[in-house]
Subunit: 296 residues, 2 copies
Amino acid sequence: MIENFADRLLGAIERAGSPVCVGIDPVYERLPSDFDNVPDPVRAIEHFSRVVLEIVAGIVPAVKVQIAYFERYGSKGVAAYERIVADALSAGLIVIGDVKRGDIGSTVRAYAAGHLERENSPDAITVNGYFGADGLAPFIESARRLGKGIFIIVRTSNPSAAEVQDFTDRQGKKFYEHLAEQVASISNGEGLIGEKGYSCIGAVVGATYPAEVQQLRKVMPRQIFLLPGYGAQGASARDCLGGFRSDKTGAIVSASRSVIYAYQQERFATTHWKDAIAQAARDLAADIRQTLDSEM
Amino acid sequence: MIENFADRLLGAIERAGSPVCVGIDPVYERLPSDFDNVPDPVRAIEHFSRVVLEIVAGIVPAVKVQIAYFERYGSKGVAAYERIVADALSAGLIVIGDVKRGDIGSTVRAYAAGHLERENSPDAITVNGYFGADGLAPFIESARRLGKGIFIIVRTSNPSAAEVQDFTDRQGKKFYEHLAEQVASISNGEGLIGEKGYSCIGAVVGATYPAEVQQLRKVMPRQIFLLPGYGAQGASARDCLGGFRSDKTGAIVSASRSVIYAYQQERFATTHWKDAIAQAARDLAADIRQTLDSEM
C-alpha cells in the first residue's frame, strides 16, 4: 500500500530531528568563485545544486527545488532541474518541486502528469489555488493515487502580499482565509488523510506574517504548512511557531538564500563555502528545533 | 525604438481582420490517426502543433501555446514547446506563451528571464497576479524594456472560478474586481501605454462569465483582454462582446480545442483533419468578426 505523503514527510522530519527544508534557488551570479571557470551557467548551477544536496542530505529531511532558476535557461535548465530532483530523491531527501502551477482542470491534468507522475518526479509540488476546486482536482487525484503531496499557496511571504490577499468581506474575513477554508474542505476527502492525522494536501503560508500563520493554523488543522520566509526574507524561528500544533508537528520551515549563499555572510568570511553551507543548514535545524522546544 | 506590445498585437489583429487567437493545446491521445505510427508522443505533438501553425498562420493573427501539454513530458517536451514558439514567430504570428507563472519578486526575475527574455521567447505570456505588485514587477520590467506583453489572470473561465474569485467585500466588490483594479493601476506606468492607448499589461478574463467580462471592461479600460472560454468551454461570440470597447478593439478571443480538434466534430466527419482545422479557424474568425460588426 502506498504511504500517505504527510506520513512520509512527518517520518522524515522525525528521523532528521528538525522540521526544516533547504531551498535550492541557484543563481549563477551568486555562485562561489570556484565556478568562475564554468562558463556554462546551466552546468554551473547544476553542479552547485548537487554539492548543496550532498552537504545538506545528512542534516535536513527535505529540500525544495525552485524550478524558476532552472527555467531561466529554458529546456536545458529544466533538464538540469530534473537531474537535481532525481539526485535529491536518491539521497533519501523528501523533495518538494517549487513550481506553483495552476490552471483549469484539463490543463492541470497535463501539469500533474509532468510534475508528479513521471519517473523521478518530486514527492510534492507547490500549486496555485486561484482556479478553485476543479483546477486542483487533477493534482489531488495524483497525490492520492501515488502517495504524493501538494502545497497550495494560501498566504505568500512577499511585501506586496497584503495588497491583494488581505481583501476583506463584511464579516471581516480576509481573502486568504477564504482560500484557506477551501483548502481545508477539499483536503479531507477519502484517501487524503494519513495515519498521523494530516492531509497530503498542505498549504504554503509565508512566515513573514506570523499573526496570519497562527490564525491559519486554526482554519487548516489538517494541513502541513510549508513556511517560506525564514532567513533572507526576514522571518525568525519564533515567527514560525504559530504554524505548528501544540505537539510541535504540522509545519516545515524552508530557508533558501540564507543557507545556500551562507558563504557570502560576514560570519563565514574565512570559512570554505561548503563548510559555510553545512554550518548554516545545521544552524537552521538547531534554531527551529530549539525554539520549538523552549517556546512551546 | 521598440514597439509597444499592445500596438503590435492590435496591428496584427487589424491586418488579419479578426481579433482571435488559436490555442495550441496538443494532447497525444486526441491526435488524428495519421499520428498512430508516431510512437514518441513528444515528436507527435510537436509535429501536429507545427501543422496547426502552418494552417492557421494565414487565418488568425495570434496563437496561444499552452506549455502544460509540453511540460507533461518534462524537459524534452519543453524543448518542443520552444521549437513551436520559434516556428510560430517565424510564421509571423503573435505568440502568447500560456505559462501562468507567478511567485515572489526574486523568483519572478528568473521566470521573466526564461520566458520573455531569451532568443525566440514568446511575444507575451500569461502570469498569475496573486503575489501582488512586487511579484509582477520583473515581468513588467521585461515587457517595458523588450516590447513584450503580459496577461494577468483576473477571472478564470472554469466552473469553480466563482467559489474562490467571487469573494465579496462590504461594498459588494468581488475579489476579482479588486485584482482588476490592481492590474489597472500598475499598467499605467511610464513606458507601458502604447500609441493606441492600450497597455502592454493585459488581463485574462474568462468569456464563460459574460456579465463579469462587461463589468471588468470598465475597471480595466487600458487592458487588452485575452478571452479564453469560447468554443469547447461553452462561451459564444456574443458572450465575448463585453470585452471589447465600442470601437471594437481591446480584446482577443482564444479558442483551442474547438479549432485544433475540429476533425472530431460531427460536421467534419467526412473532411480531412487539416481542412477541418482550417475551416474551424476561419469559422472562429468570421463568427467573432461578424458578431462584432452586427452587434456593436
